[in-house]
Protein backbone atom coordinates (compact mmCIF):
# COMPACT_ATOMS: atom_id res chain seq x y z
CA UNK A 1 0.00 0.00 0.00
CA UNK A 2 1.19 3.52 -0.73
CA UNK A 3 0.19 7.00 0.28
CA UNK A 4 -1.14 9.71 -2.00
CA UNK A 5 -2.65 13.09 -1.14
CA UNK A 6 -6.24 13.49 -2.33
CA UNK A 7 -5.46 17.00 -3.61
CA UNK A 8 -2.97 15.47 -6.05
CA UNK A 9 -5.61 13.08 -7.34
CA UNK A 10 -7.94 16.08 -7.63
CA UNK A 11 -5.60 18.09 -9.81
CA UNK A 12 -4.48 15.10 -11.88
CA UNK A 13 -8.10 14.22 -12.64
CA UNK A 14 -9.01 17.84 -13.35
CA UNK A 15 -6.24 18.02 -15.91
CA UNK A 16 -7.48 14.80 -17.49
CA UNK A 17 -11.09 15.94 -17.84
CA UNK A 18 -10.26 19.54 -18.74
CA UNK A 19 -8.12 18.34 -21.65
CA UNK A 20 -11.26 16.71 -23.02
CA UNK A 21 -13.70 19.53 -22.28
CA UNK A 22 -13.12 23.26 -22.58
CA UNK A 23 -16.09 23.81 -20.27
CA UNK A 24 -14.04 22.68 -17.28
CA UNK A 25 -12.29 25.65 -15.70
CA UNK A 26 -10.30 25.86 -12.49
CA UNK A 27 -10.23 28.87 -10.20
CA UNK A 28 -7.92 29.39 -7.28
CA UNK A 29 -7.09 32.11 -4.79
CA UNK A 30 -3.30 32.20 -4.68
CA UNK A 31 -3.35 28.51 -3.77
CA UNK A 32 -1.91 26.85 -6.84
CA UNK A 33 0.96 25.54 -4.75
CA UNK A 34 -1.08 24.22 -1.86
CA UNK A 35 -3.70 22.68 -4.15
CA UNK A 36 -0.93 21.36 -6.51
CA UNK A 37 -2.30 23.19 -9.55
CA UNK A 38 0.98 24.18 -11.15
CA UNK A 39 0.82 21.44 -13.78
CA UNK A 40 -2.75 22.36 -14.64
CA UNK A 41 -1.92 26.07 -14.90
CA UNK A 42 1.02 25.29 -17.18
CA UNK A 43 -0.84 22.81 -19.39
CA UNK A 44 -4.17 24.63 -19.73
CA UNK A 45 -3.60 28.33 -18.97
CA UNK A 46 -6.79 29.32 -20.79
CA UNK A 47 -8.87 27.15 -18.48
CA UNK A 48 -7.16 28.38 -15.34
CA UNK A 49 -8.21 31.54 -13.50
CA UNK A 50 -6.17 33.03 -10.69
CA UNK A 51 -8.36 35.23 -8.52
CA UNK A 52 -5.80 36.35 -5.96
CA UNK A 53 -6.44 36.20 -2.24
CA UNK A 54 -10.12 37.04 -2.63
CA UNK A 55 -12.31 34.05 -1.78
CA UNK A 56 -15.57 35.99 -1.87
CA UNK A 57 -14.85 37.14 -5.39
CA UNK A 58 -13.65 33.66 -6.31
CA UNK A 59 -17.00 32.04 -5.54
CA UNK A 60 -19.00 34.88 -7.12
CA UNK A 61 -16.93 34.72 -10.30
CA UNK A 62 -17.36 30.94 -10.42
CA UNK A 63 -21.13 31.32 -10.08
CA UNK A 64 -21.19 33.82 -12.94
CA UNK A 65 -19.16 31.46 -15.10
CA UNK A 66 -21.47 28.55 -14.27
CA UNK A 67 -24.47 30.69 -15.23
CA UNK A 68 -22.84 31.08 -18.64
CA UNK A 69 -22.33 27.38 -19.24
CA UNK A 70 -18.86 26.69 -17.86
CA UNK A 71 -18.17 24.07 -15.20
CA UNK A 72 -16.01 25.85 -12.64
CA UNK A 73 -14.00 23.95 -10.03
CA UNK A 74 -12.99 26.30 -7.23
CA UNK A 75 -9.89 24.83 -5.63
CA UNK A 76 -8.53 26.47 -2.50
CA UNK A 77 -8.01 25.75 1.20
CA UNK A 78 -11.24 24.63 2.86
CA UNK A 79 -10.80 26.80 5.98
CA UNK A 80 -11.02 29.98 3.91
CA UNK A 81 -13.53 28.86 1.29
CA UNK A 82 -15.97 27.61 3.86
CA UNK A 83 -15.73 30.68 6.09
CA UNK A 84 -14.68 33.84 4.26
CA UNK A 85 -16.87 33.14 1.25
CA UNK A 86 -19.72 31.39 3.04
CA UNK A 87 -22.30 34.00 2.03
CA UNK A 88 -21.27 33.66 -1.61
CA UNK A 89 -21.62 29.87 -1.27
CA UNK A 90 -25.05 30.36 0.27
CA UNK A 91 -26.40 32.94 -2.19
CA UNK A 92 -24.47 32.59 -5.45
CA UNK A 93 -24.09 28.80 -5.41
CA UNK A 94 -26.66 27.07 -3.20
CA UNK A 95 -29.63 29.46 -3.42
CA UNK A 96 -28.93 30.31 -7.08
CA UNK A 97 -28.39 26.60 -7.80
CA UNK A 98 -25.34 27.20 -9.98
CA UNK A 99 -23.15 24.38 -11.23
CA UNK A 100 -20.13 25.28 -9.11
CA UNK A 101 -17.83 22.61 -7.69
CA UNK A 102 -16.19 23.87 -4.52
CA UNK A 103 -13.12 21.78 -3.73
CA UNK A 104 -11.85 22.60 -0.26
CA UNK A 105 -8.36 21.17 0.19
CA UNK A 106 -6.30 21.02 3.37
CA UNK A 107 -9.59 20.61 5.19
CA UNK A 108 -10.22 19.53 8.76
CA UNK A 109 -7.01 19.54 10.78
CA UNK A 110 -4.60 19.22 7.85
CA UNK A 111 -2.94 22.41 8.99
CA UNK A 112 -2.92 21.09 12.57
CA UNK A 113 -0.03 23.14 13.94
CA UNK A 114 -1.11 26.34 12.19
CA UNK A 115 -3.96 26.82 14.62
CA UNK A 116 -7.66 27.50 14.57
CA UNK A 117 -7.55 30.07 11.77
CA UNK A 118 -6.39 27.30 9.44
CA UNK A 119 -8.66 24.53 10.67
CA UNK A 120 -11.97 23.75 9.04
CA UNK A 121 -13.90 21.59 11.42
CA UNK A 122 -17.02 23.69 10.96
CA UNK A 123 -17.44 23.37 7.20
CA UNK A 124 -19.81 20.39 7.01
CA UNK A 125 -22.09 22.06 9.53
CA UNK A 126 -21.95 25.26 7.49
CA UNK A 127 -22.79 23.82 4.07
CA UNK A 128 -24.97 20.85 4.97
CA UNK A 129 -28.19 22.87 5.51
CA UNK A 130 -27.80 24.67 2.19
CA UNK A 131 -30.35 23.84 -0.52
CA UNK A 132 -29.23 22.02 -3.67
CA UNK A 133 -25.84 21.26 -2.12
CA UNK A 134 -24.14 17.88 -2.43
CA UNK A 135 -21.48 17.40 0.26
CA UNK A 136 -18.65 14.95 -0.34
CA UNK A 137 -15.54 13.72 1.45
CA UNK A 138 -13.21 11.36 -0.41
CA UNK A 139 -11.28 8.78 1.59
CA UNK A 140 -8.33 8.30 -0.74
CA UNK A 141 -6.86 9.17 -4.11
CA UNK A 142 -8.82 6.67 -6.20
CA UNK A 143 -12.08 7.80 -4.70
CA UNK A 144 -11.14 11.45 -5.23
CA UNK A 145 -10.52 10.83 -8.92
CA UNK A 146 -13.86 9.09 -9.28
CA UNK A 147 -15.64 11.89 -7.45
CA UNK A 148 -14.15 14.63 -9.61
CA UNK A 149 -15.16 12.85 -12.82
CA UNK A 150 -18.63 12.13 -11.50
CA UNK A 151 -19.45 15.63 -10.27
CA UNK A 152 -18.15 17.15 -13.50
CA UNK A 153 -20.81 15.15 -15.33
CA UNK A 154 -23.59 15.91 -12.85
CA UNK A 155 -25.34 19.29 -12.81
CA UNK A 156 -25.52 21.05 -9.43
CA UNK A 157 -23.55 22.63 -6.62
CA UNK A 158 -21.02 20.51 -4.75
CA UNK A 159 -18.86 21.06 -1.70
CA UNK A 160 -16.08 18.46 -1.69
CA UNK A 161 -13.66 18.49 1.20
CA UNK A 162 -10.33 16.72 1.33
CA UNK A 163 -7.14 16.84 3.35
CA UNK A 164 -3.64 17.96 2.59
CA UNK A 165 -1.51 15.02 3.61
CA UNK A 166 -0.84 11.71 1.95
CA UNK A 167 -3.43 9.10 2.85
CA UNK A 168 -3.24 5.33 2.57
CA UNK A 169 -4.72 3.89 -0.59
CA UNK A 170 -7.90 2.07 0.36
CA UNK A 171 -9.34 1.54 -3.09
CA UNK A 172 -8.01 0.49 -6.46
CA UNK A 173 -8.98 2.02 -9.78
CA UNK A 174 -11.25 -1.00 -10.29
CA UNK A 175 -13.13 -0.44 -7.02
CA UNK A 176 -14.53 2.88 -8.20
CA UNK A 177 -17.01 1.24 -10.56
CA UNK A 178 -19.19 0.31 -7.57
CA UNK A 179 -19.24 3.84 -6.09
CA UNK A 180 -22.31 6.00 -6.37
CA UNK A 181 -22.95 9.53 -5.09
CA UNK A 182 -25.44 9.27 -2.24
CA UNK A 183 -24.66 5.61 -1.56
CA UNK A 184 -22.42 4.56 1.31
CA UNK A 185 -19.72 2.09 0.36
CA UNK A 186 -19.73 -1.07 2.46
CA UNK A 187 -16.04 -1.44 3.11
CA UNK A 188 -16.32 -4.29 5.57
CA UNK A 189 -19.21 -6.47 6.68
CA UNK A 190 -19.90 -6.88 10.40
CA UNK A 191 -22.69 -7.72 12.82
CA UNK A 192 -21.85 -6.34 16.29
CA UNK A 193 -21.51 -2.63 15.56
CA UNK A 194 -21.21 -0.28 12.57
CA UNK A 195 -18.43 2.25 12.14
CA UNK A 196 -19.52 5.08 9.85
CA UNK A 197 -16.66 7.23 8.64
CA UNK A 198 -15.89 9.74 5.92
CA UNK A 199 -12.74 11.22 4.43
CA UNK A 200 -9.42 10.36 6.06
CA UNK A 201 -11.25 8.72 8.96
CA UNK A 202 -12.29 5.81 6.75
CA UNK A 203 -8.77 4.43 6.96
CA UNK A 204 -8.74 4.64 10.76
CA UNK A 205 -12.17 3.02 10.96
CA UNK A 206 -10.88 0.17 8.80
CA UNK A 207 -7.83 -0.23 11.07
CA UNK A 208 -10.06 -0.26 14.15
CA UNK A 209 -12.31 -2.94 12.62
CA UNK A 210 -9.25 -5.11 11.93
CA UNK A 211 -8.03 -4.74 15.53
CA UNK A 212 -11.49 -5.56 16.86
CA UNK A 213 -11.71 -8.65 14.68
CA UNK A 214 -8.79 -10.13 16.62
CA UNK A 215 -10.94 -9.83 19.74
CA UNK A 216 -13.90 -11.44 17.98
CA UNK A 217 -15.78 -8.16 17.68
CA UNK A 218 -17.30 -7.95 14.23
CA UNK A 219 -17.49 -4.31 13.14
CA UNK A 220 -19.15 -3.21 9.92
CA UNK A 221 -17.43 -0.27 8.20
CA UNK A 222 -19.39 2.15 6.04
CA UNK A 223 -17.53 4.71 3.97
CA UNK A 224 -20.05 7.57 4.00
CA UNK A 225 -18.31 9.54 1.27
CA UNK A 226 -21.53 11.43 0.59
CA UNK A 227 -22.52 13.43 3.64
CA UNK A 228 -25.46 14.89 1.73
CA UNK A 229 -27.67 13.38 0.43
CA UNK A 230 -27.19 10.82 3.17
CA UNK A 231 -27.64 7.13 2.39
CA UNK A 232 -30.52 6.44 4.75
CA UNK A 233 -30.97 2.92 3.39
CA UNK A 234 -27.50 1.92 4.54
CA UNK A 235 -28.09 3.63 7.89
CA UNK A 236 -31.36 1.83 8.51
CA UNK A 237 -29.81 -1.52 7.61
CA UNK A 238 -26.85 -0.83 9.91
CA UNK A 239 -29.15 0.13 12.78
CA UNK A 240 -31.37 -2.92 12.33
CA UNK A 241 -28.61 -5.43 11.71
CA UNK A 242 -25.87 -4.27 14.08
CA UNK A 243 -27.82 -2.26 16.67
CA UNK A 244 -25.07 0.24 17.48
CA UNK A 245 -23.55 3.02 15.37
CA UNK A 246 -20.30 4.90 15.82
CA UNK A 247 -19.59 7.86 13.54
CA UNK A 248 -16.03 9.07 13.00
CA UNK A 249 -15.18 12.38 11.36
CA UNK A 250 -12.43 14.97 11.10
CA UNK A 251 -14.90 17.68 12.06
CA UNK A 252 -16.46 19.16 15.15
CA UNK A 253 -18.91 16.83 16.87
CA UNK A 254 -21.42 19.63 16.24
CA UNK A 255 -23.17 19.58 12.91
CA UNK A 256 -21.16 17.15 10.78
CA UNK A 257 -21.46 13.50 9.79
CA UNK A 258 -22.42 12.36 13.29
CA UNK A 259 -25.16 14.95 13.50
CA UNK A 260 -26.47 13.96 10.08
CA UNK A 261 -26.58 10.29 11.08
CA UNK A 262 -28.20 11.07 14.44
CA UNK A 263 -30.84 13.27 12.79
CA UNK A 264 -32.03 10.31 10.76
CA UNK A 265 -31.54 7.52 13.28
CA UNK A 266 -33.20 9.12 16.30
CA UNK A 267 -36.33 9.91 14.31
CA UNK A 268 -36.64 6.73 12.29
CA UNK A 269 -34.94 3.68 13.83
CA UNK A 270 -33.53 4.70 17.21
CA UNK A 271 -30.41 2.81 18.30
CA UNK A 272 -27.46 4.18 20.27
CA UNK A 273 -25.17 6.46 18.25
CA UNK A 274 -21.72 7.52 19.42
CA UNK A 275 -20.28 10.56 17.66
CA UNK A 276 -16.49 10.66 17.46
CA UNK A 277 -14.92 13.86 16.22
CA UNK A 278 -13.28 17.00 17.50
CA UNK A 279 -14.86 18.04 20.79
CA UNK A 280 -16.38 21.49 21.16
CA UNK A 281 -13.28 23.05 22.72
CA UNK A 282 -10.03 24.79 21.82
CA UNK A 283 -8.25 22.34 19.52
CA UNK A 284 -4.84 21.12 20.63
CA UNK A 285 -1.91 21.93 18.32
CA UNK A 286 0.03 19.27 16.45
CA UNK A 287 0.36 17.24 13.28
CA UNK A 288 -2.99 15.84 12.30
CA UNK A 289 -2.06 12.21 13.18
CA UNK A 290 -0.98 13.38 16.65
CA UNK A 291 -4.17 15.34 17.07
CA UNK A 292 -6.30 12.43 15.85
CA UNK A 293 -4.62 10.16 18.41
CA UNK A 294 -5.19 12.75 21.14
CA UNK A 295 -8.92 12.80 20.46
CA UNK A 296 -9.20 9.03 20.06
CA UNK A 297 -9.76 9.18 16.32
CA UNK A 298 -6.96 6.84 15.25
CA UNK A 299 -7.44 3.07 14.86
CA UNK A 300 -6.51 2.34 18.47
CA UNK A 301 -8.70 5.11 19.83
CA UNK A 302 -11.73 4.04 17.83
CA UNK A 303 -11.25 0.39 18.84
CA UNK A 304 -11.00 1.42 22.50
CA UNK A 305 -14.26 3.36 22.29
CA UNK A 306 -16.01 0.42 20.64
CA UNK A 307 -14.79 -1.97 23.34
CA UNK A 308 -16.03 0.34 26.08
CA UNK A 309 -19.40 0.82 24.40
CA UNK A 310 -19.98 -2.89 23.90
CA UNK A 311 -18.84 -3.73 27.45
CA UNK A 312 -21.18 -1.14 28.87
CA UNK A 313 -24.02 -2.47 26.78
CA UNK A 314 -23.19 -6.01 27.89
CA UNK A 315 -23.20 -4.98 31.56
CA UNK A 316 -26.54 -3.26 31.17
CA UNK A 317 -28.05 -6.30 29.48
CA UNK A 318 -26.83 -8.48 32.39
CA UNK A 319 -28.60 -6.25 34.89
Amino acid sequence: MSKTACRKALTKTLLEIAEKSKKIVVLTSDARGSVTLNDFAAALPEQFVEVGIAEQDEIGVAAGMAACGLIPFVCAPAPFLSARSLEQIKVDVSYSNTNVKICGVSGGLSYGALGGSHHSIHDLAAVRPMENMTVLMPADAAQTGWMVKTIAETEGPVYMRMGRNGVEDIYTEEDVSCFEIGKAHLLREGRDITLIAAGEMVWYAKCAAEMLQEENISARVLDMHTIKPLDIGALRAAAEETGYLVTIEEHSVCGGLGSAVAEYICQNCPVPVKILGIPDEHVIAGDSPEVFAHYGLDGGGIAKTVRELLNKQHMEEKK
Binding site: G52, D57, G60, V61, G64, M65, G69, Q88, S96
Partner: protein
Amino acid sequence: MTIRELEQKANEIRQGIIDLVHISKVGHVGGALSSCDILTALYYEVMKVDAERAEDPDRDRFVLSKGHCVEGHLNILADKGFIEKEELKSFCQFGTRLIAHPNRQIPGVEMNTGALGHGLSVACGMAKAAKMQNRDYRVYVVMGDGEQGEGSIWEAAMFAANYKLDNLYAILDRNRLQISGPTEDVMRLEPLKEKWEAFGFYVEEIDGNDMREILYAFYKLEKVKDRPKLILADTVKGKGVSFMENQTKWHHGGLNDELYETASKEIAERTRRLCYE
Protein backbone atom coordinates in the same frame (compact mmCIF):
# COMPACT_ATOMS: atom_id res chain seq x y z
CA MET B 1 -36.64 53.89 -29.53
CA THR B 2 -36.33 57.67 -29.47
CA ILE B 3 -35.29 59.50 -26.33
CA ARG B 4 -38.88 60.64 -25.88
CA GLU B 5 -40.24 57.13 -26.25
CA LEU B 6 -37.74 55.85 -23.72
CA GLU B 7 -38.72 58.58 -21.29
CA GLN B 8 -42.36 57.61 -21.70
CA LYS B 9 -41.43 53.97 -21.16
CA ALA B 10 -39.53 54.85 -17.99
CA ASN B 11 -42.62 56.64 -16.77
CA GLU B 12 -44.72 53.56 -17.47
CA ILE B 13 -42.25 51.46 -15.45
CA ARG B 14 -42.40 54.03 -12.62
CA GLN B 15 -46.16 53.54 -12.48
CA GLY B 16 -45.54 49.78 -12.41
CA ILE B 17 -43.18 50.21 -9.44
CA ILE B 18 -45.81 52.22 -7.60
CA ASP B 19 -48.42 49.56 -8.42
CA LEU B 20 -46.28 46.77 -6.92
CA VAL B 21 -45.53 48.72 -3.76
CA HIS B 22 -49.25 49.44 -3.44
CA ILE B 23 -50.22 45.78 -3.86
CA SER B 24 -47.65 44.38 -1.48
CA LYS B 25 -47.58 47.29 1.00
CA VAL B 26 -43.80 46.84 1.08
CA GLY B 27 -40.93 47.41 -1.30
CA HIS B 28 -37.67 49.23 -1.83
CA VAL B 29 -39.39 51.96 -3.74
CA GLY B 30 -36.83 54.77 -3.43
CA GLY B 31 -33.98 52.87 -5.10
CA ALA B 32 -36.30 51.28 -7.67
CA LEU B 33 -37.31 54.77 -8.77
CA SER B 34 -33.76 56.15 -8.80
CA SER B 35 -32.52 53.29 -11.03
CA CYS B 36 -35.63 53.22 -13.24
CA ASP B 37 -34.24 55.33 -16.10
CA ILE B 38 -31.04 53.26 -16.21
CA LEU B 39 -32.91 49.94 -16.34
CA THR B 40 -35.23 51.29 -19.01
CA ALA B 41 -32.31 52.44 -21.16
CA LEU B 42 -30.63 49.05 -20.75
CA TYR B 43 -33.64 46.89 -21.60
CA TYR B 44 -35.20 49.00 -24.34
CA GLU B 45 -32.13 50.34 -26.10
CA VAL B 46 -28.73 49.11 -24.96
CA MET B 47 -28.90 45.36 -24.27
CA LYS B 48 -29.47 42.50 -26.66
CA VAL B 49 -32.07 40.43 -24.82
CA ASP B 50 -35.20 38.82 -26.15
CA ALA B 51 -37.84 36.83 -24.30
CA GLU B 52 -38.27 34.63 -27.37
CA ARG B 53 -34.62 33.62 -27.13
CA ALA B 54 -34.13 33.78 -23.38
CA GLU B 55 -31.54 30.97 -23.43
CA ASP B 56 -29.49 32.33 -26.34
CA PRO B 57 -25.86 31.87 -25.25
CA ASP B 58 -24.96 35.14 -26.98
CA ARG B 59 -27.55 37.26 -25.18
CA ASP B 60 -26.33 40.15 -23.08
CA ARG B 61 -26.41 39.48 -19.35
CA PHE B 62 -27.90 41.70 -16.66
CA VAL B 63 -27.29 41.45 -12.92
CA LEU B 64 -29.13 43.60 -10.41
CA SER B 65 -26.57 43.70 -7.62
CA LYS B 66 -28.83 46.00 -5.59
CA GLY B 67 -31.40 43.22 -5.74
CA HIS B 68 -33.80 44.90 -3.34
CA CYS B 69 -34.78 47.33 -6.11
CA VAL B 70 -36.49 44.53 -8.03
CA GLU B 71 -39.81 46.32 -8.65
CA GLY B 72 -38.61 48.10 -11.78
CA HIS B 73 -36.88 44.99 -13.09
CA LEU B 74 -40.01 42.85 -12.71
CA ASN B 75 -42.14 45.41 -14.54
CA ILE B 76 -39.65 45.46 -17.40
CA LEU B 77 -39.53 41.66 -17.58
CA ALA B 78 -43.32 41.57 -17.74
CA ASP B 79 -43.46 44.30 -20.38
CA LYS B 80 -40.80 42.49 -22.41
CA GLY B 81 -42.74 39.23 -22.29
CA PHE B 82 -40.49 37.21 -19.98
CA ILE B 83 -43.38 36.81 -17.56
CA GLU B 84 -47.12 37.49 -17.79
CA LYS B 85 -48.22 40.96 -16.67
CA GLU B 86 -50.96 39.27 -14.67
CA GLU B 87 -48.32 37.57 -12.53
CA LEU B 88 -47.12 40.92 -11.20
CA LYS B 89 -50.15 40.90 -8.92
CA SER B 90 -48.56 38.06 -6.97
CA PHE B 91 -45.60 40.26 -5.95
CA CYS B 92 -44.53 39.25 -2.42
CA GLN B 93 -47.66 37.12 -1.96
CA PHE B 94 -47.56 33.68 -0.35
CA GLY B 95 -45.89 31.06 -2.54
CA THR B 96 -44.93 33.46 -5.33
CA ARG B 97 -41.72 33.39 -7.32
CA LEU B 98 -41.99 37.18 -7.57
CA ILE B 99 -40.35 37.75 -4.22
CA ALA B 100 -38.73 41.02 -3.23
CA HIS B 101 -35.41 40.08 -4.84
CA PRO B 102 -34.47 38.77 -8.29
CA ASN B 103 -34.13 35.02 -8.58
CA ARG B 104 -33.56 32.54 -11.37
CA GLN B 105 -37.00 31.01 -11.09
CA ILE B 106 -38.13 34.11 -12.98
CA PRO B 107 -37.43 33.90 -16.71
CA GLY B 108 -34.96 36.60 -17.71
CA VAL B 109 -33.25 36.78 -14.33
CA GLU B 110 -29.65 35.64 -14.64
CA MET B 111 -28.68 35.40 -10.96
CA ASN B 112 -30.28 35.43 -7.54
CA THR B 113 -29.30 38.54 -5.64
CA GLY B 114 -30.35 40.19 -2.43
CA ALA B 115 -27.30 40.04 -0.18
CA LEU B 116 -25.27 43.11 -1.09
CA GLY B 117 -21.86 43.20 -2.72
CA HIS B 118 -22.28 39.99 -4.77
CA GLY B 119 -23.35 41.24 -8.19
CA LEU B 120 -20.07 42.60 -9.48
CA SER B 121 -18.21 39.31 -8.86
CA VAL B 122 -20.96 37.36 -10.60
CA ALA B 123 -20.89 39.81 -13.51
CA CYS B 124 -17.10 39.45 -13.67
CA GLY B 125 -17.53 35.68 -13.93
CA MET B 126 -20.01 36.12 -16.78
CA ALA B 127 -17.73 38.58 -18.58
CA LYS B 128 -14.68 36.37 -18.11
CA ALA B 129 -16.70 33.38 -19.36
CA ALA B 130 -17.49 35.34 -22.55
CA LYS B 131 -13.80 35.94 -23.13
CA MET B 132 -12.94 32.30 -22.43
CA GLN B 133 -15.62 31.07 -24.84
CA ASN B 134 -14.93 33.71 -27.51
CA ARG B 135 -18.43 35.11 -27.26
CA ASP B 136 -19.13 38.78 -27.70
CA TYR B 137 -22.03 39.33 -25.33
CA ARG B 138 -21.77 42.11 -22.77
CA VAL B 139 -22.50 42.04 -19.08
CA TYR B 140 -24.32 44.87 -17.32
CA VAL B 141 -24.51 45.17 -13.56
CA VAL B 142 -26.35 47.80 -11.54
CA MET B 143 -24.92 48.44 -8.10
CA GLY B 144 -26.18 50.61 -5.28
CA ASP B 145 -24.08 53.19 -3.52
CA GLY B 146 -24.75 51.82 -0.04
CA GLU B 147 -23.33 48.45 -1.08
CA GLN B 148 -20.02 50.07 -1.98
CA GLY B 149 -19.19 49.41 1.66
CA GLU B 150 -18.90 45.68 0.97
CA GLY B 151 -15.28 44.58 0.58
CA SER B 152 -16.26 41.99 -2.00
CA ILE B 153 -17.09 44.81 -4.46
CA TRP B 154 -13.47 45.90 -4.40
CA GLU B 155 -12.20 42.34 -4.77
CA ALA B 156 -14.31 42.13 -7.91
CA ALA B 157 -13.09 45.52 -9.11
CA MET B 158 -9.50 44.25 -9.00
CA PHE B 159 -10.49 41.12 -10.90
CA ALA B 160 -12.26 43.10 -13.63
CA ALA B 161 -9.28 45.35 -14.24
CA ASN B 162 -6.74 42.55 -14.00
CA TYR B 163 -8.53 40.57 -16.71
CA LYS B 164 -9.27 43.68 -18.82
CA LEU B 165 -12.98 42.93 -18.91
CA ASP B 166 -14.03 45.56 -21.44
CA ASN B 167 -17.27 43.64 -21.96
CA LEU B 168 -18.28 44.54 -18.40
CA TYR B 169 -20.42 47.63 -17.83
CA ALA B 170 -21.02 48.53 -14.20
CA ILE B 171 -23.55 51.20 -13.34
CA LEU B 172 -23.47 52.76 -9.89
CA ASP B 173 -26.85 54.17 -8.86
CA ARG B 174 -25.51 57.08 -6.81
CA ASN B 175 -28.66 58.25 -5.07
CA ARG B 176 -26.72 59.23 -1.95
CA LEU B 177 -29.09 57.64 0.54
CA GLN B 178 -29.03 54.28 2.28
CA ILE B 179 -31.37 52.82 4.85
CA SER B 180 -29.96 54.76 7.81
CA GLY B 181 -29.45 58.06 6.02
CA PRO B 182 -27.02 59.86 3.71
CA THR B 183 -24.21 57.56 2.55
CA GLU B 184 -21.62 60.13 3.54
CA ASP B 185 -22.93 60.13 7.11
CA VAL B 186 -23.19 56.35 7.44
CA MET B 187 -19.76 55.57 5.96
CA ARG B 188 -18.00 58.02 3.71
CA LEU B 189 -17.73 56.75 0.11
CA GLU B 190 -16.27 59.77 -1.64
CA PRO B 191 -14.24 60.27 -3.68
CA LEU B 192 -15.98 57.46 -5.58
CA LYS B 193 -14.88 58.44 -9.08
CA GLU B 194 -11.24 58.49 -8.08
CA LYS B 195 -11.59 55.19 -6.24
CA TRP B 196 -13.01 53.41 -9.26
CA GLU B 197 -10.40 54.98 -11.51
CA ALA B 198 -7.66 53.89 -9.12
CA PHE B 199 -9.02 50.35 -9.37
CA GLY B 200 -8.57 50.48 -13.15
CA PHE B 201 -12.06 51.36 -14.39
CA TYR B 202 -12.89 53.88 -17.08
CA VAL B 203 -15.45 56.06 -15.31
CA GLU B 204 -18.14 58.20 -16.92
CA GLU B 205 -20.05 60.51 -14.57
CA ILE B 206 -23.60 61.41 -15.63
CA ASP B 207 -27.03 62.49 -14.49
CA GLY B 208 -28.51 59.02 -14.09
CA ASN B 209 -32.08 60.22 -14.46
CA ASP B 210 -31.46 61.91 -17.81
CA MET B 211 -32.16 59.51 -20.67
CA ARG B 212 -30.01 61.45 -23.13
CA GLU B 213 -26.98 61.35 -20.84
CA ILE B 214 -27.47 57.65 -20.04
CA LEU B 215 -27.56 56.65 -23.71
CA TYR B 216 -24.65 58.89 -24.62
CA ALA B 217 -22.58 57.35 -21.79
CA PHE B 218 -23.16 53.81 -23.12
CA TYR B 219 -22.28 55.01 -26.61
CA LYS B 220 -19.02 56.51 -25.38
CA LEU B 221 -18.08 53.51 -23.25
CA GLU B 222 -18.52 51.23 -26.23
CA LYS B 223 -15.30 52.62 -27.65
CA VAL B 224 -13.21 52.00 -24.53
CA LYS B 225 -11.15 48.85 -24.89
CA ASP B 226 -9.10 46.71 -22.50
CA ARG B 227 -10.65 48.17 -19.37
CA PRO B 228 -13.83 47.58 -17.42
CA LYS B 229 -16.20 50.54 -17.37
CA LEU B 230 -18.33 52.21 -14.79
CA ILE B 231 -21.10 54.73 -15.15
CA LEU B 232 -21.27 56.81 -12.01
CA ALA B 233 -24.92 57.73 -12.25
CA ASP B 234 -25.93 60.66 -10.10
CA THR B 235 -29.58 59.93 -9.34
CA VAL B 236 -32.39 61.06 -7.08
CA LYS B 237 -33.77 58.49 -4.69
CA GLY B 238 -37.54 58.28 -5.20
CA LYS B 239 -37.23 60.09 -8.56
CA GLY B 240 -40.58 60.99 -10.11
CA VAL B 241 -42.71 60.99 -6.98
CA SER B 242 -42.12 64.33 -5.27
CA PHE B 243 -42.98 63.28 -1.73
CA MET B 244 -40.46 60.44 -1.97
CA GLU B 245 -37.60 62.32 -3.59
CA ASN B 246 -34.44 62.45 -1.47
CA GLN B 247 -36.29 61.08 1.54
CA THR B 248 -34.46 58.43 3.55
CA LYS B 249 -37.75 57.05 4.86
CA TRP B 250 -38.77 56.05 1.33
CA HIS B 251 -35.84 53.63 1.06
CA HIS B 252 -38.39 51.02 1.96
CA GLY B 253 -42.10 51.30 2.49
CA GLY B 254 -45.60 50.54 1.31
CA LEU B 255 -48.19 52.83 -0.20
CA ASN B 256 -51.68 53.27 1.19
CA ASP B 257 -54.51 54.11 -1.22
CA GLU B 258 -54.23 57.84 -0.69
CA LEU B 259 -50.49 58.07 -1.30
CA TYR B 260 -50.87 55.69 -4.22
CA GLU B 261 -53.38 58.05 -5.84
CA THR B 262 -51.12 61.06 -5.29
CA ALA B 263 -48.08 59.28 -6.74
CA SER B 264 -50.02 57.91 -9.71
CA LYS B 265 -51.45 61.33 -10.56
CA GLU B 266 -48.00 62.84 -10.55
CA ILE B 267 -46.65 60.15 -12.85
CA ALA B 268 -49.63 60.53 -15.20
CA GLU B 269 -49.06 64.27 -15.27
CA ARG B 270 -45.42 63.73 -16.22
CA THR B 271 -46.51 61.41 -19.03
CA ARG B 272 -48.89 64.05 -20.40
CA ARG B 273 -46.26 66.74 -20.15
CA LEU B 274 -43.79 64.61 -22.11
CA CYS B 275 -46.32 64.48 -24.98
CA TYR B 276 -46.21 68.25 -25.31
CA GLU B 277 -42.52 68.89 -24.67
